[in-house]
């Protein structure tokens, strides 16, 4: 049986096809099996295509030499140069000092630690923890919207610029200076510590949060938008599940960091362990100073372990994902 002739095909002037070899026009309505290879018995089969010169074999696309100068290698090179030019800093004062003897003499005053101050230290420790917890909570609340505003993928450009500028400014001012400003405003008490550390932490958490939001593959949220979800729903179900572990672990890190900071900002009168440290330093009570340090060390260690454990719990399921 003869296959049906291509009725819709063979126009007077065939339209240009993007295929390299001119093929006989195929009928639009043919099933695949018939349209693939029209036999030669067709009533008006096309003449065979003219012989074409053989296509040259593809050449391996060599990259030019300067392509190895990517951002990473250039950065490494510059870093090496920077190390070389920074070496003069190591000269010190130039005077003939016995560094080892100095260190030994100073550190010897730290031992043995004087633990008779334990009650005061514990009180101050509790105050430090309170400052850190409140400052972290305040920073979380403030930096969530700032992080959203600073995410390039989620916010308009002007808002991103504004938010990032604000975050950078906040981060530039060291925590001690923030505490000093707060002390100047509300006086030398723990409230100053909370305010100062909040301001400082917002700079960090806001940046981390916006980076976390930017790291999310937005196609998932776009997919949800495509099946009808609103913007807020797409964020809640498409972006938030991805950022949640990151945000919690950043918040935990910030809590640890704030605990350490809160132990220091007492130096400028903002409450906590720093007040004790400052006092002992003034009176050269280095053994008591050392006792406070031991308590801080214990606190930081416990927090570190705890934070690590919680972080593992939070991110474990994500990490178990197949590659």
């Amino acid at each position: 049986m003869k296959p049906p002739a291509p009725r819709s095909g063979s126009p007077a002037t065939p339209a240009p096809t993007p295929s390299p070899a001119p093929s006989p026009p195929r009928p639009r309505s043919e099933p695949h099996s018939q349209s693939q290879t029209p036999p030669n018995t067709q009533p008006h089969a096309q003449p065979p295509p003219p012989a074409q010169p053989p296509a040259p074999a593809p050449v391996f696309p060599e990259l030019p030499w300067y392509r190895c100068l990517d951002a990473l290698s250039v950065t490494l090179l510059l870093f090496g140069l920077a190390i070389f030019f920074s070496l003069p800093t190591l000269r010190g004062s130039g005077r003939d000092l016995d560094y080892w003897e100095n260190a030994r003499r100073f550190l010897a005053r730290f031992f043995p630690p004087d633990f008779s101050v334990t009650p005061q230290v514990l009180t101050a420790l509790a105050e430090t923890a309170q400052i850190a917890v409140l400052a972290t909570a305040g920073a979380l609340v403030l930096s969530f919207p700032l992080g959203l505003a600073g995410a390039r993928t989620l916010s308009p450009r002007w808002l991103v610029t504004l938010a990032r500028l604000a975050l950078n400014v906040t981060r530039t001012v060291p925590s001690l200076l923030w505490a000093l400003i707060a002390v100047a405003i509300v006086g030398a008490n723990p409230l100053a510590g909370v305010l100062g550390l909040t301001a400082y932490s917002v700079g960090y958490l806001g940046k981390f949060f916006s980076d976390a939001f930017e790291s999310v593959d937005l196609d998932v949220a776009r997919g949800l938008r495509a099946i009808g979800a609103s913007r807020i729903q797409a964020f809640q179900h498409g972006v938030w599940p991805h950022t949640r572990p990151l945000i919690w672990s950043y918040a935990l890190w910030m809590l640890e960091y704030n605990l350490r900071s809160a132990a220091i900002i007492g130096y400028v009168g903002a409450g906590g362990l720093g007040v004790l440290l400052h006092g002992y330093q003034e009176y050269h009570a280095w053994d008591r100073f050392c006792a406070v340090l031991v308590f801080i060390l214990g606190l930081v260690t416990v927090l570190d372990l705890l934070g690590e454990w919680v972080r593992r719990k939070v991110t474990k399921r994500a990490a178990r994902a197949p590659a």
């Binding site: 639009r28 309505s29 099933p31 776009r222 099946i227 797409a234 572990p245 197949p322």
Partner: protein, 287 residues
Amino acid sequence: MNRRASPTSPAADAGSAATHTPAPTSTASAASFASVPSAAVPSAAAASTRATARSDDAHILVSGLGVRRAERWLFHDLTLTVPRGAFVAIVGPSGAGKSTLLACLAGALAPGEGEIRFRERSGRLVAPEHCRPRIGCVFQRLLLVENSSVLANVLCGRLGRHRWWQTLFGAPRAEREAAFAIVADLGLAPHTHRWVAELSGGEQQRTAIARALFQEPDLYLADEPISNLDTYLTGRVLGRLRQEAAQQGRTVFCVLHDPTLVDRFADLVVSIDPTDPHGWRVRPVRR
């Protein structure tokens, strides 16, 4: 353009009457769908009016659709009328523009030219971007929320039906049970509360299909929904989609590669073909 205006339209080629059988009630018979391309009207300009006039049960009206990529038309002047409840297979080589066509149908991509209209159950014609909750998508990259459970992902299918504050603290119990029924039907019951990131490729794909099924849309757009599934599940998934189309009148667009599957499940084949001058062809599947 001229070719479609020629008297030998594909419908005539298929030898079927040009009468239009209402699709949703009938089990998709060859005749009813063979007449579909005849509604692909001669001129793009007259497309929408003409199609509107003659086929009230037509679900999707595509007229003069063209998408250009890198100075080249992927497809051009694509005109197509699909009745409600048809299973349309989209075939074609890699990179031809199958997913692009689906993106246009989903309203996610603005085509270079032409327009797409859906007829709602009320009879109103709307653009795809205005009826997103009623378009269910199985994306090629699945686009599931990996750090969330299978059930939560499936529940995402009906987000478009609710205001955002209604879904803020989870879905109602009835919805959760309905979602679980679909999850169980696709053989994912043991994984209901596992994270999508922990699942295998096929399980993830079934989750994406379950999300679309749970949405109960008027139109399914499935981009290779069976690429990771075994033969049994392939038949099950495509059978379920076909059943949805035939019984519920939910039109299905499905990118398929296997010609046997196309012949077994599809009513209509849109082939996106770079060797064709217009980049596309439409043919009915004869059964």
